[in-house]
């Protein structure tokens, strides 16, 4: 494995996804409807990342207390909703996960 080619190729591919549209879309004017639609990108992507990692355990849907990620995820969601505080959510979510796994050896 040529590690230089590996890294250079991955870096180029990634940059060529991230940069060109930033340049091009600014030059042409985006239809108003499309611009409004893009407001839904953050919630859709965030939920698409979060939900599988919370409800799935080793590739299977596990909706029972045997799934520590589900428990920690629900607690985090509750904290986020009540406190609207990101740092508090991260801290309590991780403490919940580590404590829950330690107590029930999951």
């Amino acid at each position: 494995m040529n590690e230089v080619l590996l890294v250079v190729g991955m870096a180029l591919v990634t940059f060529l996804i991230r940069y060109p549209l930033l340049e091009l879309v600014g030059k042409i004017s985006l239809p108003d409807r499309l611009f409004k639609a893009l407001r839904y990108v953050p919630p859709a992507v965030l939920a698409a990342i979060i939900v599988p990692s919370v409800i799935m355990l080793k590739g299977e849907i596990v909706l029972t207390p045997a799934n520590p990620f589900l428990v920690a995820g629900l607690i985090s969601a509750l904290v986020a909703w009540r406190s609207q505080n990101l740092l508090l959510t991260v801290i309590i979510g991780m403490i919940t996960l580590l404590a829950y796994r330690a107590i029930f050896s999951l």
């Binding site: 549209l21 879309v25 698409a48």
Partner: protein, 233 residues
Amino acid sequence: MIPLVVGAAPFGVIFGAVAIMNGLSPLAAVAMSAFVFAGSSQFIGVNLVASGATLPIIWLTTFVVNLRHALYSTTLAPYVKHLPRRWLILLGFLLTDEAFFTVVTRYNEPDESSHKHWYFLGAALALYVNWQIFTWIGIVAASTVDRDQLANLGLDFALTVTFTGMLIPSLKNRPILVAALVGGTVAVLTYHMPNNIGLMIAALAGVVAGVIAEGLQEEDRPDAKTQRREDAK
């Protein structure tokens, strides 16, 4: 911002460690974080290296895994169009999931500050430096900590929790809630598709659902109906 840096840190440590354990040289691991700077594709790239995949396969996979960033740059482009090219190149290079979610929130705030691109740069640079440092820590940790032990700690869950803390407060109206519900559901249904393709499909499905929900909501609003009736007269 600070919570995001905290949330991404364990992810960086795990990447550094996993890269070494999968046979990457420390220099290549450092270079990957420095030049690719895209967490999930770095993990997948390293796994592909370990499984003996060829370079074109790894590059192609990187492309598919990172395709969602095209949605981010499209979303942010209207806000940064006044900036010179060197700014766009720099911001484009630094555009990660975490940077995007932070920055889009800032741009959506109602104040008309003309310095929001400095916030963009600052946030993205903080995330960049953070990623480098914790990659190095992971590389060092790889030689001292047991691999399974590290994986079993569930530290990568920190990022999920961070994203939860960003998503929940943003669910302020019904179309946004619909976009999130559909995005999350489709992501589960497409979970077994290779190379994060499911994530892209889920994102698009969520966006479309949000737009549809917004359209339905406007139809329900009585004043919109009166308006339309008056227009028809």
